[in-house]
Amino acid sequence: MSRPGRDDSPDRLYTVTGGRSRANSTAFDLVTLVVSEFDPAPGMQSEHRAILAMCRRPTAVVEIAAELRLPVSIVKILLSDLLAAGRVTARHPQPLPTASSLPDPLVLEQVLVGLRNL
């Protein structure tokens, strides 16, 4: 398997996003979970259809990028289109109050339990 995006010419990426820049793509984190609200339909852009098919179950942005073999920034642009059209919803990770603040101990306890049960 080749690295995603490795063989993509800038022109292909330009086409995929309709030549647009980052739009509201900053709303998405690598691990924002995306959920489809609609089924893929004929006539939609193929990337949009693929995303809607994948996201019938919650799917992290980074998994969408790996599956579509597109850079994360391009996937975020595609997702902001779908979000704006109401075709997907997003479950964002809980932001930490500040860059250097620490996670909630209750969350960490949960993580510890999950890891010990592995």
Binding site: P4, G5, L30, V31, A66, P105, E109
Partner: protein
């Protein structure tokens, strides 16, 4: 069915539909130190690889000219995941530690719970830069010495060589072993817990 559109949907393992929140931990270190091996040994999915494209200024593909002129820098990273319970999934990212990578850190790994710095005793210098930057960012981290054989150095010697603060956990591991990788992650999260409950000084 989920596989109606994409053929490759068949080999994907989707998350539970009850999953509502995702967390992340980053494993950082030099080339060949065992990042991918560690992700693989604990991940419930085969590690996947993707990349991010950004300009040197640390922006996304800013305008059409940036996309078209190939001035953007790409960084490849791999990842795996662990479903912790019905609602929460933990993503593990394996990320290169070299200098050219670090302007991406904020964008890619903001909000990470913490980091594991993997070190190979034969190439300790590979990790100096990563440790500097984690300290600067205030991202809590532990250091795990991956066992590639060779001369035995005491952990104290390694701590000295890395100039690690006394409270930063330093452990040995062999990330080819799932139990060992699990132990590394548990050590990090226990450390984060200690920090978050105020039982220790911030690194």
């Amino acid at each position: 069915m989920d596989s109606a559109i994409s053929d490759s949907a068949a080999d994907r393992t989707p998350l539970l539909s009850t999953t509502t929140s995702a967390l992340k931990i980053v494993v950082v270190g030099g080339f060949g130190v065992g990042k991918t091996t560690m992700v693989r040994s604990v991940s419930e999915i085969r590690p996947l690889n993707t990349e991010e494209t950004m300009t040197q200024a640390g922006q996304d593909v800013d305008d059409n000219s940036a996309v078209r002129s190939k001035t953007a820098t790409t960084v490849a990273f791999d990842f795996g995941r662990i479903s912790l319970n019905a609602e929460t999934v933990l993503y593990l990212f394996g990320a290169p530690g070299q200098e050219r990578f670090w302007f991406l850190w904020d964008r890619l790994f903001a909000g990470t719970l913490g980091a594991v710095v993997l070190v190979d005793i034969r190439r300790l210098a590979d990790s100096w830069y990563a440790i500097d930057r984690l300290e600067q960012h205030g991202t809590p981290f532990i250091v795990a010495r991956n066992d590639f054989g060779g001369p035995k150095h005491s952990l104290d010697q390694i701590r000295d060589a890395l100039d690690l603060a006394p409270q930063v956990p330093l452990i040995e591991c062999d990330v080819r072993e799932r139990e060992s990788s699990k132990h590394v992650l548990i050590t990090l999260v226990q450390y984060l817990y200690t920090l978050s409950t105020g039982d220790a000084q911030r690194p």
